[in-house]
Structure formats: C-alpha cells, structure tokens
Amino acid sequence: MFYWSSFSDFLHMGGYALFVWGSYLVTIFVLIIEIALLRSRNKALRKTLISEIRESERN
C-alpha cells in the first residue's frame, strides 16, 4: 500500500528532504503559532474582563 520501502526512504524524500520537510515544518510551525496566539489572547481577554466586572461591582 505504501509507496516507500522503508522509513528512512520516506525521510529522504527521494533527495528532496530539505525542500519537502522545509515546507511542511514551516507550515506546521506557523499554524501552531497562530493557534497559540489566539488562545493566549483569549486567556488575557477573559482575565481583563473578569477583573473589570469585579471592579465595577465593587463601585
């Protein structure tokens, strides 16, 4: 079923390992950064909003 005869063949990518893995790794990296930024933004936002609400309830 699989095209490759071994795992090292797969990693070698017919001599194009640098190019193929270079594009896949950068893509994964960029997407992970996007998700991480969104999550940390969400956390920070919740924190600020909750403290804002507490502040207004005290006054």
Binding site: W4, F10, G14, S23, L38
Partner: protein, 245 residues
Amino acid sequence: MSSLNLNWFKYAAPQRFYGLAGSLIPWFVVSGVILTIIGLVIGLGIAPTDHQQGDSYRIIFIHVPAAWMSMLIYLVMAFWAAIGLIFNARLASMLALSLAPTGAIMTFIALWTGAVWGKPTWGTWWVWDARLTSELVLLFLYFGFLSLHASIEDVRKADRSAALLAIVGVINVPIIYFSVKWWNTLHQGASVSLTKAPTMATQMLTGMLIMVFAFWMYSIAVALYRCRNLILERERHADWVKEVL
C-alpha cells in the same frame, strides 16, 4: 420563507453567534484533524512519485490548499466587509476582521512553500512573474487591511475604511487565478480544472483535495475562534458577556 429568514437574522446578533460558534468549533477541529491525517497519509505515504519532478512535488499537498484558501478567504472577507459596510452589520465586520490574519497566514504559506518548491524545480526561489507577484500583492492587501484597521481608533470607522480597501482589492483575486492563463509564467498551469480531466494521478488528486478540505476546516475553526475573541472584546459592556465568562 419568512421563518428561514428569521433564522438567519437570529445569528446576526453577536450574542447568539458567540454561542453558535462556540459549539461549532470542536466539530471543525475534529474533522480538520481527521482530514489532515488521511490527506497526509495518502499524499506523503501512498501517492506515487512524480516522473518529472520527483518527490519535490509532494509540497503540492500544502501549497495548493494554502494558495486556494488565500484567495477564497480574501473573497469571503471582502464579502462580509461589504455586508458590514452596506447594512451597518457589526457581526459581519467582525467576521471580516477575523478572517484577515488567517488569510495572510495562508498567503504566506503559499508563498513560502512555492519558493521552496521553485528552487528544486525551476532553480530559483523567486521570480517576478505574474502569478508570484500577484500573490505577493495579496499578502500586502491583507497587511494593508489589518494595519488600516488597527490605525483607526473608532472600531466602526475602522471597519468601514478597511472594508473599502478589501472591496477594491478583490480585483487582485481573478488576476492571481487567471495569471497563468493570461501571461507567460514560469508557474505551471492549474492542476485542477472543472472543464478538463485531471492531469494528476488519482492518489495525488485525492490527497490534495482532502488536504484542501482540511485547510477549510482549519481556517473556519480559527476564524470562528478569533471572532469569539473579537465579540468578547467589543461587547464587553453587555450583560450577557458577564454570564459567559
């Protein structure tokens, strides 16, 4: 018909949309992960090598989906920006703003993987041909949209000004898409066409289309998540926000 219309407008309220998006995101995440696994197993594992380009062609499984998404997201973004502008709809403008960063990221991925694919195939990372140049213009349009929006303090004013820029920039999308037809470019022609039989092996095409759907799922999930952040930020003084926090 009227009940159908009612349902649509129901979700135009940020509060309703916040809940709807929150319950939809997990579905898009799960289907995105499943599609990515299947697509990569087919593309990187099962599909045969290309007799012209060797295994460097395997970049196609992210390059084409990212390039398609970069154009499609722009059109959707401009559509919602226009709706926001014409009907003064807050949620539509927020959707447009939520799509822009993801669109820029897709454009960057298309350019990056294109450069890395170009080096072994054409012998150069970059050429100023019509396809590559117009895709770079797309990246600057996203940057322009985002920085124009960020530079105006009043958010509704920012929404409107950025919407105008987005609408004018739509002209660039058909230029990117048809550039390989209209001009002599180093970039190869369309890999998939509705009118011609596919020129790719079935497994290559299957892997690529599955990855296209995976990128769809990813983009929808992150755009909805970002939109939820935006809604929280802009509706912070509404009573319902206190309840969901």
